[in-house]
């Protein structure tokens, strides 16, 4: 059901049945290794290219999600997913092997929540019984496409962020006859593309912060909610600098921010002493942390009402070279325990 200008309320509350979270070696050394289902020992993952390794991450996450939920892939109607690589080939190629009817989406690092919003909407409108949705990114595959060769010795500034190697997929289903409480999807807000004129691809957090703020405000306005409604408002990959900027922007717009309730996935996944500069980024940043860490916390009762905002920078290496500014987007999905 449409609410306000750009939000949906899911009155039949689609639920998240199971999730599959995989990561690479650098994520295993991070702060939340227990929230992952599987780790690969190196970035090649037994393949001969980073792009094939990237595909493997997605296949593994989907397989794990199906297995954990004890759901046969034949009963899953649709797969909705994407990644950061040109023409989202890792996800397209993974979908070839998984062989579930497939919608490929690109929304940079906000792909996870775009997929979840679409999946919840389809299920809420009886368009499917089960949908698997998620996002993935691979550090080396993203580095070589967006920046320099992985072994090139360029110095990254303190505003740079580290692309997560991983994939997070979740199976969404209808809410009925569930024995145990599960996270349910209650609403979603689709973001606008916001461009505040930044051009530095090594400072994504600050480019994306205005998009996150725009979507949060739209969500509050559309649904008549505020910060107090949620136990946690979590952004996808703003990083240290993007987060403090977003807090100031919110305060400037007259929205009081409870800073201990306003977290960022990009600051959760790695330890302080890992060399990630301003924090994590990548489509897998929000996908792994929300579908792994945050869901587990919700099941433990730490959080009951969570608003998850995944943020994406919609640039390509070519638009950067042509000196274009960086347009950004953010999608929000609210998840509550039954």
């Amino acid at each position: 059901m449409l609410a306000g200008g750009q939000s949906w309320i899911f009155n039949r509350s689609p639920i998240i049945l199971s999730t599959g979270i995989v990561g690479g070696p650098f994520e295993r050394e991070g702060r939340i290794p227990e929230e992952f289902d599987y780790f690969y020992d190196d970035l090649w993952m037994g393949e001969d290219s980073y792009e094939k390794a990237h595909r493997k991450l997605i296949e593994e996450a989907v397989t794990i999600a199906l297995k954990k939920g004890n759901i046969q892939k034949e009963v899953v109607q649709f797969m909705i997913g994407g990644d950061l690589i040109n023409q989202i080939t890792p996800t397209n190629f993974a979908a070839r092997n998984i062989s579930i009817p497939y919608l490929g989406i690109f929304s940079a690092c906000s792909t996870s929540m775009e997929g979840l919003a679409i999946a919840a909407s389809i299920i809420n409108n009886d368009g499917a019984n089960y949908i698997i949705t998620g996002a993935a990114s691979h550090n080396a595959a993203a580095e070589r496409q967006y920046r320099y060769p992985t072994e090139y010795g360029a110095q990254k500034p303190p505003t740079a962020q580290w692309t997560v190697t991983g994939a997070g997929y979740a199976i969404i289903g209808k809410s009925n006859n569930q024995s145990k409480p599960r996270p349910k999807i209650t609403s979603a807000t689709i973001g606008k593309v916001v461009d505040m004129g930044l051009t530095d691809p090594f400072n994504m957090g600050q480019a994306m912060a205005p998009a996150a703020v725009d979507t949060i405000i739209a969500h509050f306005n559309d649904l008549g909610r505020d910060f107090d409604y949620y136990d946690l408002i979590i952004t996808g990959d703003l990083g240290k600098i993007g987060r403090t900027t977003a807090i100031e922007l919110l305060k400037e717009k007259g929205i009081p921010v409870a800073e201990n309730k306003f977290l960022d996935c990009g600051l959760i996944i790695y330890r302080e002493d890992q060399p990630v500069q301003a924090g994590a980024s990548g489509a897998a940043s929000s996908a792994t942390v929300i579908y792994g860490h945050i869901f587990n916390q919700m099941k433990k009762g730490v959080y009951t009402k969570v608003l998850s905002i995944a943020t994406g920078a919609l640039l390509s290496p070519m638009t950067f070279q042509q000196k274009e500014t960086i347009p950004c987007i953010a999608h929000a999905v609210s998840i509550e325990m039954e």
């Binding site: 001969d48 290219s49 980073y50 792009e51 070589r144 320099y148 060769p149 992985t150 072994e151 090139y152 010795g153 360029a154 110095q155 990254k156 500034p157 303190p158 505003t159 461009d195 505040m196 004129g197 930044l198 400072n203 600050q206 205005p210 240290k240 600098i241 403090t244 900027t245 100031e248 922007l249 400037e252 060399p275 301003a278 042509q322 000196k323 274009e324 500014t325």
Partner: protein
């Protein structure tokens, strides 16, 4: 948005953005670059003396095998995944010496091995170093041209 005036909103955001942006630690970077760059050059100087004293090279001719040796070392360090870490630590200190040039070529060659020798390694090896070669050769040409004209005018 290219070449356009910034909107009022974008200008207002610029102020907030500048306030929170973490600056590059310039002084630290300069000092580290000075010492690491100096260290790399010192190793190079050592290798030059090695070629002069143990082989039949003069001060002038020893530079060729020295550069080759330095690039070889850079290749090993790049291949073993050390040079990019050194680069993050040292910045210009490891980028400016010839080893940095070697790293730019070699890292691109390694990176594109997955697309094969011709379409991958061959066509991408110089994608970072290509501009250095082009503009290096061109400026050498311009300098040589100026020198020729002046010595010509001087009646040499």
């Amino acid at each position: 948005m290219n070449h356009q005036q910034k909107t009022y909103e974008q200008k207002a955001y610029e102020k907030i953005q500048k306030k929170h942006e973490a600056k590059r630690p310039l002084l630290r970077n300069c000092i580290v670059a000075f010492f690491v760059g100096g260290l790399i050059s010192m190793i190079g100087q050592g290798i030059t003396y090695f070629y002069i004293y143990f082989f039949n090279f003069t001060e002038k001719t020893a530079s060729n095998p020295t550069v080759a040796t330095m690039i070889f070392l850079s290749m090993l360090l790049t291949g073993f995944g050390v040079y990019d870490r050194l680069g993050q630590f040292a910045g210009a200190g490891s980028a400016v010496p010839v080893t940095g040039f070697g790293n730019a070529v070699i890292s691109a060659a390694i990176e594109h091995r997955s697309e094969g020798f011709v379409l991958g390694v061959g066509s991408n090896m110089f994608k970072l170093a290509g501009s250095v070669i082009l503009f290096g050769v061109f400026s050498a040409f311009v300098v040589a041209l100026i020198k020729t004209i002046f010595t010509g005018l001087g009646g040499g």
